[in-house]
Amino acid sequence: MQKNILELEQKSRWVRRQVLEMISSAGKGHIGGAFSCADILVALYYGGILRFDSTNKESPGRDRFILSKGHSAASLYAVLADLGYFALSELENYQKETSILRGHPDRKIPGIEADTGSLGHGLGIGAGIALGAKMDAKDFITCVLLGDGECCEGSVWEAAMFAGHHKLNNLVAIVDRNGICVTDFLKDCLDLEPLDKKWVSCGWDVVVIDGHSHQELLSVCKQFHNKLGKRPLVVIANTVKGKGVSFMEGNLDWHHSVPRGEDLERAKKELEL
């Protein structure tokens, strides 16, 4: 299962291409954030980080992954379909009538661990799972992917303080730090900096990496299971919203716009497989 860096990069490109097809076909979806976290998801699921078995979805020992930034579901759906949680053909039905794939993920979808979409819920749920695992001396990890815009929600910090206080070293948070929320740059509406110090002050270990470098992603994610730390770990993954399609990158227009016409053709070309 574990792939080398080149294969991971190719898989990321494939995921982005699926997302482009899904969103343009559905005429809706959150493309910018789905692109910014694609490499993170690929590293977790294909880089030998998360322990899972798509043929035994409820295996008690599986690692739990929660997409707290639920609006980026399209990328996760592409990954889960590719890994056999449901048919690849289901991606074509994304958000369409009778599809199992809604705009935001829920537990009715195979491979999804928690209902998300309203921001600021996933870290608390993940911390609860991690606490329960510690109570029962289970050795799986819980990994929660947050958006940086999501970190404006107070409930994120309630959960962060709780996890720090209870020293949940079996909990990992990854922040998709693309710097953009729905309509604005975060630095212009609610500057989160110093973001790393905020997590440290809540009792977390912090690593800051390039969230598009599989090399860096793998080197930090491989620590998840080693239990070296005594505290929960947050990975601040610096990313680019819309990553992979040049005219979307870092552009405020592409939170949930749908590429059409020339834009779509250009995006397809840039994500040619």
Binding site: R64, T116, H121, I125, G128, I129, G132, T142, S155, F162
Partner: protein, 313 residues
């Protein structure tokens, strides 16, 4: 079920303590809220008791996470803080995922009368009944409170229990065996039916007693499970009553009166319904619970007078 004459909170928490002693998967989370009978839970079962501090939203999410790894979780705070403050977490993390988490709210109605509107539990029924998966329990005394702890423990879907404070009259419940019906007729009467619950049940009984002196025979129903409503039993118990009165310490929108009105509008167009409740307002008046009730026409004399007016029309 053995009769108990103790504080309704103690009845609930003592039962929960016994359950938790037997089942290590029972986890109790409190948003920094205590109760006399919780002290021994905290002392004797420390690995099953967590003070979440004043962070209700996180308490709900943590409860959901624990439930996802098969813990039987109870969460606890004052009603506005364990319902309204964390409502979206309850909606998504617990109800949409249909997890067996039990939400305990203390301070139903005007329990915290003089503390002001921030602490009043007068709109929680309206809020919580919007959640499709939830069961809403409204115990009226120690016996029903004890039964509610068992019901919540056994439930695999969300439960909300709105607790009173204090020792409430037991009112004969010996005929009721398993508390699965959700409604119990505590007084027989053929002229009208008063539907109430929680602390107001005892007031409803006093009203029924008082009405006897006016030659009016009033039945009294204890609606201790507000959702899912046992509609069939409700209609059977209302029977031939042409007048139904709801009596509650909640604001008039969305409470017991609204619940009953929905049923009667569809099934009993011949019944006249009078809803007696707190008017549509935040209660900035202050004083004892009894004093506040008197301001809103919820004291026994006012309720009797209102019912006599209905009869005279």
């Amino acid at each position: 079920m053995k009769a108990l004459n103790k504080d309704i909170r103690d009845a609930f928490f003592d039962q929960l303590y016994s359950i938790a002693q037997q089942d290590k998967n029972v986890i109790f989370l409190t948003a920094d809220m205590g109760a006399f009978s919780l002290a021994k839970f905290k002392k004797d079962l420390p690995s099953q008791f967590i003070n979440m501090a004043v962070a209700e939203q996180n308490m709900v999410s943590i409860a959901a996470g624990l439930s996802l790894v098969d813990k039987n979780v109870f969460i606890y705070s004052i009603i506005p803080f364990t319902t309204l403050r964390c409502y979206e977490q309850i909606k998504i993390d617990i109800c949409a995922m249909n997890l067996g988490v039990s939400i305990i709210g203390i301070g139903a109605g005007l329990s915290y009368a003089s503390d002001g509107p921030t602490h009043h539990g007068t709109s929680d029924i309206a809020l919580m009944r919007l959640l499709p998966e939830i069961t809403i329990l409204n115990p009226s005394n120690a016996v029903t409170a004890q039964a509610c702890a068992q019901i919540a423990y056994k439930s695999t879907s969300p439960v909300y229990i709105r607790l009173e404070k204090g020792v409430l009259p037991l009112i004969d419940r010996q005929k009721e065996k398993d508390f699965s019906s959700g409604i119990f007729k505590v007084r027989e009467g053929s002229d009208l039916t008063i539907i109430s619950g929680g602390i107001m049940l005892q007031e409803a009984v006093k009203v029924a007693d008082e009405l006897k002196s006016h030659s009016i025979k009033a039945a009294v129903l204890d609606l201790y499970r507000i959702k899912p409503l046992n509609i069939e039993l409700l209609l059977n118990l209302i029977d031939k009553s042409k007048i139904v009165v709801t009596l509650e310490e909640n604001i008039i929108q969305g409470g017991i009166g609204t619940v009953i009105s929905e049923v009667l509008a569809e099934a009993r167009g011949d019944v006249f319904l009078k809803r007696i409740a707190i008017p549509d307002q935040h209660c900035f008046e202050t004083g004892s619970r009894e004093y506040m009730r008197s301001l809103y026409g919820l004291d026994v004399d006012s309720v009797v007078s209102t019912i006599l007016d209905v009869f005279s029309q």
